[in-house]
Amino acid sequence: MIAGSGGSGGGAGASRAMDVQQIFERLGQLCGGALLDAAPGDGEWPRLNVVPTRVAEVARVLRDDPALGFDCLANLTGVDLKSEDSIEVCYHLFSYRHRHQLMLAARASRGDPLLPTFTDLWPAADWLERECFDLLGVRFIGHPDLRRLLMPEDWVGHPLRKDFIEPEEYHGISTRRESLLKL
């Protein structure tokens, strides 16, 4: 049952939202070794850095534990950290049941970014991961259909990488245009 449905009051409804510290402690009990930080970050979406290989495990706990109850993957995106030679993938999780929120972050190496898929946890992850693969080249292990989403299938390169260079032409269409002021 979803607390938000039918209820008129904002916020918690029948269940209580947990604050960051409580979420962090609960996670520490259930999968302690997977967390990289000693304390959670602050802000509206507190950041939680996770060991990349165990991110799916943490996510499963976050979704399935009744007290945590993150039933919605609100956003998934990647950031190319070129200077640190890694790509960070951020997962914004939200709970409609308890109305609390959290941001998971996992880093993968820039050369061959590999992370486990979330498609079996939240179907919303399907397209978000495809987009992340398309634009940043992160490969999600176990994704059922990891194809390009936005760019054409025959496109080369991942445009949101910081060192991406725009190709000169695409199927005979030049991608350069001279300034009209020079004419």
Binding site: S5, R47, Y96, M103, W122, A124, W127, L160
Partner: protein, 385 residues
């Protein structure tokens, strides 16, 4: 209407004949009034086995451009993320930058934003409602909606000089104060427009043919809607009462009285296409209420805070959500302390709505696919960015 045909039985046919699956291509040249979308439809006669969306025909690399043009310069681009209701996109970007730099917007600025956003929301829902009618085959309601939309366009043009891509908001407030006489004209419009919603409902929403086409089509349960991360009217159509304006109040929305309409299932099943459509009709009334309250309570003062011309927010990241016309819009911005954003990501309502289409399609008629897209109010650039 949903035709729940057992696929195996369908293949056998009445006389034991096996019918062949055919592949249809729909789009990308404007399959309906929602922009460049493409579907690869695997159909058996009139019944779809699967409709696979193919997007990216309007991918304009807005996220990458943000890394090149700086914080102030990106504002016109946000208009083009969702051109049907650009005000909320303006606000999303402005709020993200303000959150990064810790800027407080003057109260009058916030009120101007609310008035502009809610007028924009009415204009957007008018397009959605009218286009739904047109997709189903009713041409006239569309012209009714466009007629009213033109009046809002006029109002917003007074406000910022543009009809569609407003570029009205700035980091720290709004570009201009309300022009003289604007409040009276906006009130006048609201007073005339509100009864027209009932007229439109009689004309279209409760029309028998329209209801037959929309009710019980593509039913989405609340659990499924949340799992697929549907937002805004699409989520509320499934009966989840969640609105960012009310539940995580941003700007000055906490000062206004308004309801959050949800799907009722009165014409069919809770969460069907008609419910999603009807949420928008009912939301327009709430928008009118908000605009009225905002105009009545308009405080005096400046509309924009002092923000340096070279805007350099400190290092950090924010994820800001605003309630756009197509639902909860997420703006994820990473700053590295320079004058240019390090990374911007925009999570939009149409994107998630589009991703559920493939899941919904089996068993629907081909003609219903257009009705489903219309009920989601998909706008192509919001899908592709």
């Amino acid at each position: 209407m949903t035709v729940a045909i057992d696929v195996a039985l369908e293949r056998e046919g009445v006389g034991g004949l096996e019918t062949e699956e055919m592949t249809l291509n729909m789009g990308p040249q404007h399959p309906s009034t929602h922009g460049v979308l493409r579907f690869v439809v695997k159909a058996d006669g009139e019944v779809m086995r699967r409709a696979i969306p193919d997007i990216g025909y309007l991918h304009r690399s807005i996220e990458k451009i943000s890394e090149k043009v700086g914080y102030h310069g990106f504002m016109p681009y946000t208009d083009r993320v969702d051109y049907v209701s650009a005000m909320q996109c303006n606000q999303g970007w402005a709020m993200a930058c303000e959150a990064l730099a810790g800027i407080t917007v003057p109260r009058r600025g916030e009120y101007c934003r609310v008035i502009a956003c809610e007028l924009g929301r009415i204009a957007s829902h008018l397009i959605s409602v009218g286009a739904t009618g047109m997709d189903i085959g009713a041409m006239t309601p569309f012209t009714h909606c466009i007629r009213e939309r033109e009046k809002i366009n006029d109002l917003l043009e007074e406000l910022c000089g543009a009809r569609l891509t407003f570029n009205y908001m700035r980091i720290g407030g709004c570009a201009w104060d309300l022009p003289p006489g604007f409040a009276a004209r906006a009130l006048d419009f609201i007073n005339r427009f509100e009864p027209l919603i009932d007229e439109l409902n009689e004309l279209l929403s409760f029309n028998k043919i329209f209801v037959e086409r929309m009710a019980n089509v593509a039913v989405i349960s609340a659990e499924k809607a949340i799992a697929y991360n549907l937002v805004g009217p699409n989520l509320r159509g499934s009966g989840v009462r969640y609105d960012v304006r009310r539940d995580v109040p941003y700007s000055v929305y906490s000062e206004f009285q308004f309801d959050v309409p949800i799907g009722t299932g009165e014409k069919g099943t809770l969460g069907d296409s008609w419910d999603r459509y009807m949420v928008r009709c009912r939301e327009m009334k709430e928008c009118c209420r908000i605009v009225r309250q905002a105009i009545e309570g308009l405080p005096a003062g400046p509309v924009i805070a002092k923000v340096p011309r070279t805007f350099k927010p400190p290092r950090g990241e924010v994820y800001v959500r605003v309630e756009g016309s197509r639902g909860d819009m997420g703006w994820y911005v990473v700053s590295d302390g320079s004058a240019f954003p390090y990374r911007t990501h925009i999570r939009t309502g149409s994107y998630t709505a589009m991703s559920i289409v493939e899941e919904l399609s089996p068993g629907l008629m081909i003609a219903d696919l257009v009705a489903v897209i219309a009920s989601f109010d998909i706008v192509a650039p919001e899908v592709d960015r």
